[in-house]
């Protein structure tokens, strides 16, 4: 077992992490927005449902949610999910939608009512006000909390190992079982590098939106 074989083994594990990361983002960013609208809905039952959902998801460990998504379909409905990865993805999407929805809600509610009213007196529709006036201000406001949450997501993907998704730490653990401990520590480099890139990216976006203040 030389360094380069181990590196490439770990890399293939890390690709699993990245796949989980990317797909989770792709689904939970829009779903979170939808959920945030529900939690701000004028219709009380929708609002309560959304808030209860967010409370449950944020109030329980992601690890437990992984177990539930993985086991419950098989035990209760006799319809086990096709793959472990799918189970992990579903749990992550549910979990992160809840977190993102709270960030969106905070952002949307922080936009002064005067912005809405300015749009209204100019004859804009509610949709136009949201998309043309409010959205870009919300985007700017939520970039810092979003960056935080997204970087947490990168690290959280390794939790998928609890349902035996072959992500990087699980791969490294196989070496530990054979008496090699350093590959486990080496996994940190992958996370650090990737999060370093993300940090630079978010910094660039923030800089790009520097031209206006909200």
């Amino acid at each position: 077992m030389d360094f380069s074989t181990i590196t490439s083994d770990l890399l293939s594990g890390f690709l699993e992490n990245l796949k989980l990361f990317g797909l989770t983002l792709a689904f939970s960013l829009p779903l979170g927005l939808l959920l945030s609208f529900c939690s701000m809905s004028k219709i009380p039952p929708i609002r309560w449902l959304a808030k209860t959902f967010v409370w449950i998801i944020r109030g329980t460990p992601l690890m437990l949610q992984l177990f539930i998504v993985f086991f419950v379909p098989g035990i209760v409905f006799d319809a086990p999910l096709k793959t472990r990865f799918t189970a992990a993805l579903i749990a992550f999407v549910i979990n992160y939608s809840a977190y993102f929805s709270e960030i969106y809600r905070g952002g949307i509610e922080s936009i002064p009512v005067g912005q809405h009213e300015a749009g209204m007196v100019l004859g804009m529709t509610r949709k136009q006000i949201f998309f043309k006036v409010v959205l870009m201000q919300v985007v700017k406001k939520i970039i810092p909390p979003m960056s935080n949450e997204i970087i947490t997501l990168v690290k959280d993907t390794s939790l998928a190992r609890v349902i035996a998704v072959a992500e990087i730490i699980m791969v490294a653990d196989r070496f530990t079982a054979r008496g090699m401990i350093w590959p486990l520590f080496y996994t940190g480099v992958f996370f650090l590098l990737f999060n370093g890139i993300l940090t630079l990216l978010f910094g660039a976006i923030e800089k790009k939106l520097d031209y206006y203040k909200v």
């Binding site: 007196v121 100019l122 004859g123 529709t125 203040k213």
Partner: protein, 250 residues
């Protein structure tokens, strides 16, 4: 010609009666100043005109068309409200420009979304508006790069872009440093000269006296005094008005 007729408008927030039967009319090209002490209901009146609030009783008629009728309890449809709003424009105390757009984009946004005119028409009209408020050289500036007075002038141009029948101002200079109020008041005076019908809620007594055709003094939800600037400022009838003016001019 009567542009606006407000009849017996009543509005309360919970048990707090804020407008207790407000009636007045406004002719085309007239400038009406509304003065009065804090909490008198001036902002609420403007918000009712612009359908940001809805009164419980009374009517609002523009060019003979009923905009609002408190007796009609059917639900206000969003689309109808939107169309009715276009008869009025509102300039806010805090400007409320859209921070992510340049001065020019702020002015063009609503006409573009309305989609009644071509892009070239809107551009042309926007350039003309910028010139009218003296900001042609600031067209591509973002609000955060403009002074308060300049922002308010952009806000005025933005409201004019929708060609309202009646342009309302809610204390347009109250959020400004004293040395910046002049430039905004000058723009409003300029609009008067081009025959824009306006309602200006203001604490600038000099402006109310010199620029308006009609002055209303409002206190505790009622019109205490209404008349020409001369009538209201020189010969007020009500004791409340006298006391207010004595206070305001000291």
């Amino acid at each position: 010609m009567t542009v606006l007729e407000v009849k017996d408008l009543r509005k309360s927030f919970g048990s707090n009666a804020v407008l207790k039967g407000v009636s007045f009319t406004l002719d085309k090209g007239e400038v009406l100043s509304i003065i009065g002490s804090s909490g008198g209901g001036k902002t609420t009146l403007l918000r009712c005109l612009n359908s940001l609030e809805f009164a419980e009783e009374g009517t609002i008629t523009v060019n003979g068309e009923v905009m609002f009728d408190g007796a009609d309890k059917s639900k206000h449809k969003e689309k109808d409200i939107r169309l009715k709003r276009l008869h009025f424009g509102l300039v806010f105390q805090q400007f409320n420009l859209f921070p992510q757009y340049t001065a020019k984009e702020n002015i063009m946004l609503a006409p573009k979304l309305m989609g009644n005119e071509s892009k070239e028409q809107i551009e042309q009209q926007t350039d003309a508006l910028l010139e009218r408020v003296g900001l042609s050289d600031k067209a591509d500036y973002y609000p955060c790069m403009l002074s308060g007075g300049q922002q308010q002038r952009v806000a005025i141009a933005r409201a004019l872009a929708m060609k309202p029948d009646i342009l309302c101002f809610d204390e347009p200079t109250s959020a400004l440093d004293p040395e910046l109020t002049g430039e905004v008041l000058k723009v409003i005076k300029g609009l008067k000269d081009s025959d824009t019908t306006m309602i200006v809620v203001t604490h600038e007594m000099g402006f109310a006296q010199n620029v308006s055709d009609k002055v209303i003094f409002m206190a505790k939800g009622v019109i205490e005094e209404m008349g020409t600037p001369e009538e209201v400022f020189e010969h007020p009838k009500s004791e409340v008005t006298k006391a207010f003016l004595a206070n305001a001019t000291e």
